[in-house]
């Protein structure tokens, strides 16, 4: 299992402004027509690249990028990362389209996500 990075996420206090910036700069396709109103960003329209998203940050939170890694078993990965010095920020959630995700931090406090694709 290669556990690939399959998604990235910009956390922003001004998500709409950021969406417009990247839309204008790169011409990425950005759509929030989904159950969460989540701004999905398609960069891989030519078959190359990784898609991502933009999520609102609470006031005062830092601007950041999170990487999402696809794993076979999120619960097992969360248990393993805890033993390695990481922390669980948000346990596994099943998203409207059937994918599942969780949030964690590495031992230095850097947040990242875990995903499993809909099965």
């Amino acid at each position: 299992m290669s556990n690939p990075v399959v998604h990235w996420q910009l956390i922003s206090r001004e998500p709409e402004k950021l969406a417009q910036f990247y839309l204008t700069l790169f011409g990425w396709k950005i759509s929030d027509a989904n159950g969460l109103g989540y701004r999905m960003v398609e960069t891989a329209q030519s078959g190359k690249g990784v898609d991502g998203g933009i999520w609102p940050a609470p006031p005062g939170a830092p601007e950041m990028v999170q990487l999402f890694v696809e794993v076979d078993d999120i619960d097992a990965a969360l248990a393993q990362l805890t033993g390695l010095g990481g922390s669980v920020v948000m346990p596994k959630q099943v998203l409207p389209e059937g994918d599942a995700m969780a949030l964690a931090t590495d031992p230095l406090g850097r947040p990242f996500g875990l995903m499993t694709a809909r099965r």
Binding site: P15, E16, D32, G35, L36, G37, Y38, W55, P56, A57, P58, V89, M90, P91, Q93, V94, L95, P96, G98, L103
Partner: protein, 132 residues
């Protein structure tokens, strides 16, 4: 300021059960004086860590509950209340509570992190409804 929101909600809940319940009585229950409590609830006085611990203990709050009380603001509570009322989708919560989708999503993320809600596919559930 968020803890002030929590205190106001707690006070309102007590008044709902007993309309004669006074701020002075609430202050007494929290082992503080009503002038100090009034200032804290109006956001005109910053609460110290020691006072926070004291009030938390007086309310019987566990550490995790105290952390929730410190973090949630009015919009977060509005979203939490909406989920508890059974309003289950992000868009419906936004329109019901007159919040933007982004603000609802900020609240939902915070509530998820604090384990107050859970997500099951297309719906949000308050934690009481989530199986252990």
């Amino acid at each position: 300021m968020s803890f002030a929101v929590f205190l106001k909600r707690e006070f309102e809940q007590r008044r709902a059960r007993n309309p004669r319940y006074s701020l002075r009585a609430f202050a007494g229950a929290l082992h503080t004086d009503h002038a100090t409590l009034s200032q804290i609830m109006r956001g005109r006085r910053t609460i110290t860590e020691a006072a926070l611990a004291q009030i938390g203990a007086a309310l019987g709050l566990a550490a995790v509950q105290l952390q929730r009380a410190r973090e949630l603001d009015e919009a977060d509570y509005a979203v939490l209340d909406a989920v508890r009322e059974g309003i289950a989708t992000t868009g419906d919560i936004a329109s019901n509570r007159a919040l933007t989708i982004d603000r609802v999503n900020v609240a939902l993320h915070r509530l998820l992190r604090l384990r107050l809600i859970d997500m099951r596919g297309k719906v949000w559930l308050s934690n009481e409804e989530v199986s252990p």
